[in-house]
Subunit: 458 residues, 2 copies
């Protein structure tokens, strides 16, 4: 293994070159204008996987293509399923980027840190390639991998992931494995690895309120005509009470209290509210009282408006009452909260507020439950040790506020557990302008996977 | 006068040709990309006024140019000041237009009504030309006008009218007159003229809420980071109570109760809530309880959000918490409500809601008080009679929800009263897609002004 780790170090420039190739592909899945770019990314990955001994296929779906690849070594070694996504978030607001999002580059900070810049650097192309480059180096040295590996790379993680569950159902047999690895989460600190043991679920909805049959002059109709923006703000503002709690009926059904054990574990990581909020310019978490900021984001359910739009939004002023207004709203779920019950409860809540002479339209963008990874899985110990050794520091067991719906799908459809290991950092600006990935994360991420693959062999 | 009225009828096609020329100019004042079009409209009007014997000038301001023209006949006849605006509203959402907004045309309805279509047809280019075409026909016949006329045409009525007050102060002497006429209001019904005696004031503000220093991933930060959209919805939704009353401190100071006299006058017009709301597809006025819809719009103050924007608004879903969100908000004022006090009160109200670690930015788009026109002005009777004769129906005295800030400026700076007469109809879709103007309004509007100008001579 030592030779292999050395080879990771010496071939890092070549690994980076391949990462940059992938980062240049504008695979924004939420915007249909970029469909062909998603296809390009899938084809690129298929070719990549074939180069390192995988049997790979690009499966067309009704949405973005899914890459499925397999490398079978021997029936006596375990089989793992690696999951990642090649699609990326939209880049707007583009004016806030200091580089072209699809012209990746490396820049050095004042403190000498080397940083990879570009959309997808951290979420999730950079993370995918830590695993695949580890496989490549091992394959180049040994012409074989230490264990059986199935790779599943999808292209709709950032846009609802509509077609993945059906795909998993269809290819159940090929996806069968001992355990799955997902590389789409953060480090505990920039130099301390983390295994994520809890992942929040997600319900995402767009609501569109329709009022008058046309935009109205607000002077001629103001007061007397329903304003869809007002209705929307009533809905949104009444979804939370003054204690930061979400007001939907039965919303907290299935939300577990944090155990003292977990609370103590997290205390050890030593992240206070300021550690989370100061870097983003904020001070006071607006969520539920009596919970620390990391508790609010790791293990409490949340509600956020991700976008709102209505009426005149250009320069200057236009005194209208718009005919419609809409908002994109998401709920993060924990424990055993039922995403479908919550969606129904939300829709009822909205219907009760919308006046009789107006109309509401709902669009669903997905509903997935939260998942907890069992810490009793014996492999977790081995993986943890591999990470401890690479990072020379005890690996943290953390929660994540981010939804990774595939964890739930693997559990439900394949009956397998997932181990979540990622090397990004909370300030990597994923989903934001100027996304980045620490070169250390990329480099030591590859080394980490080499260690993990060998640890799993024994 | 009879010959002149006949000439109005025969030269209507030429009048329409000129109107279409003006309607083709894309003079959207709120959008700086159209500045040269505003200039084009001003130059076009200057040339027009010179053709009919006016001394006209195009005054450059820091905003859009102002056209000022004078035709002095004799010191023994009265002097009137005619005001209108050549700028138009933006055209978005452009997809809802059934014609190109700047390619005017006439279409016949199923009931045989002839309708002029195009942005500005009713607000205010069509209305301006009813007056100017009346002057043109009289001038062509007599080489002179019956009274002294000053014409003031501005280009920022739709975008805050920032530079007009200063202009009025500077050209006080040239603007001096006996009474002013403003042609920017509606008929009582499509065949019954109206003199508007009350006009609501307007305070327009844009508020921009700044939260984190960048867009955040809503999974990683949801609950713990302030969401500017949530803050905005709290502000907006708490500006009205469940009785439809606006909750700003001292907001109703100076709001007069409707007198029984006026209530009876309006009852006579016979507009019930359905008359106003059915054509726009609504049923229940959401404003103050115990007021009918026309009362709510004509003589009660209002609050409307004219636009709201924040976060991801494109196709699909993006789970972010935006760094900022903004709304364009306007208040319509009545009676003696003080626009500056209300602006201050609004800003205080907002500041009290915005959390300490967020920041709010205010942009003002104007603040004008409401105005009432004195019905005791002796000229009102003569004008009313002229309108009665043209429309063969008793002219209604009405209120208007729409703000016409210039009325207040004339009163304050020049000490003159304004008489508001217009020929548009509430369903003309001003400020909306598919703006229109009845050909009858245009034709009989010109005839009305001929009658009024002669009525004022005596």
């Amino acid at each position: 293994m030592k030779t292999i780790l050395q080879e990771v170090d010496t071939s890092l420039p070549a690994s980076l070159k391949r990462l940059f190739e992938l980062l240049r592909i504008q695979s924004i899945s939420a915007d249909s204008r970029y469909s062909n770019e998603c296809e390009k990314a899938a084809v690129w990955l298929k070719k990549y996987l074939e180069e390192i001994g995988f049997k790979a296929q690009c499966h067309l779906t009704k949405g973005q293509p899914i890459v499925l690849a397999q490398s079978f070594v021997h029936k006596n070694v375990p089989t793992i399923l690696f999951y990642g996504h090649y699609d990326v978030q939209p880049v707007d607001p583009i004016t806030l980027w200091t580089i072209n999002p699809f012209e990746p580059c490396i820049r050095e900070t004042a403190t000498g840190e080397k940083i990879i810049h570009g959309r997808g650097a951290a979420d999730d192309k950079g993370q995918i390639l830590t695993f695949l480059e580890a496989c490549r180096v091992i394959f180049n040295q040994n012409r074989s991998l230490p264990i059986n590996i199935t790779v599943l790379l999808e292209g709709e993680e950032e846009s609802g992931g509509e077609h993945l569950p059906e795909f998993i159902a269809r290819y159940k047999e090929q996806l069968n494995c001992d355990v799955s690895f997902i590389c789409d989460t953060d480090m505990a600190t920039p130099t301390r690895a983390a295994i994520t043991a809890m992942v929040r679920g997600l319900v995402s909805e767009e609501i569109i309120i329709h009022g008058a049959n046309r935009d109205l002059h607000s002077g001629l109709y103001g007061n007397a005509a329903q304003n869809p923006i007002h209705i929307l703000t009533q809905i949104i503002s009444s979804l939370r009470d003054d204690q930061g709690r979400i007001t939907l009926k039965n919303f907290y059904e299935g939300v577990p209290e944090i155990s003292d054990h977990v609370r103590a574990l997290w205390q050890k990581i030593g992240k206070n509210d300021n550690d989370l909020l100061t870097p983003i310019g904020l001070k006071q978490p607006p969520g539920e009282k009596n919970y620390r900021a990391i508790e609010q984001t790791w293990c409490r359910p949340s509600f956020e408006v991700n976008g709102i739009t209505g009426g005149y939004q250009e320069e200057g002023f236009k005194t209208i009452i718009p005919a419609m207004a809409s908002a994109k709203i998401s709920f993060r779920l924990v424990g055993k909260q039922d995403p479908f019950k919550i969606r129904d409860s939300f829709r009822e809540f909205v219907q009760a507020i919308v006046p009789k002479d107006c109309r509401v339209e709902f669009k669903s963008f997905g509903a997935a439950p939260a998942t907890m990874v069992s810490l009793n899985n014996p492999r977790i110990e081995r993986v943890k040790k591999a990470l401890d050794e690479e990072w020379e520091c005890e690996t943290a067991i953390v929660g994540s506020g981010s939804a990774i719906p595939v964890v739930g799908e693997f559990q439900r459809q394949l009956g397998i557990e997932s181990i979540l290991i990622g090397f990004s950092n909370p300030d990597d600006c994923i989903h934001s302008p100027n996304e980045k990935y620490n070169l250390r994360s990329f480099h030591k991420g590859i080394r980490s996977w080499v260690r993990i693959l060998y640890a799993l062999q024994n």
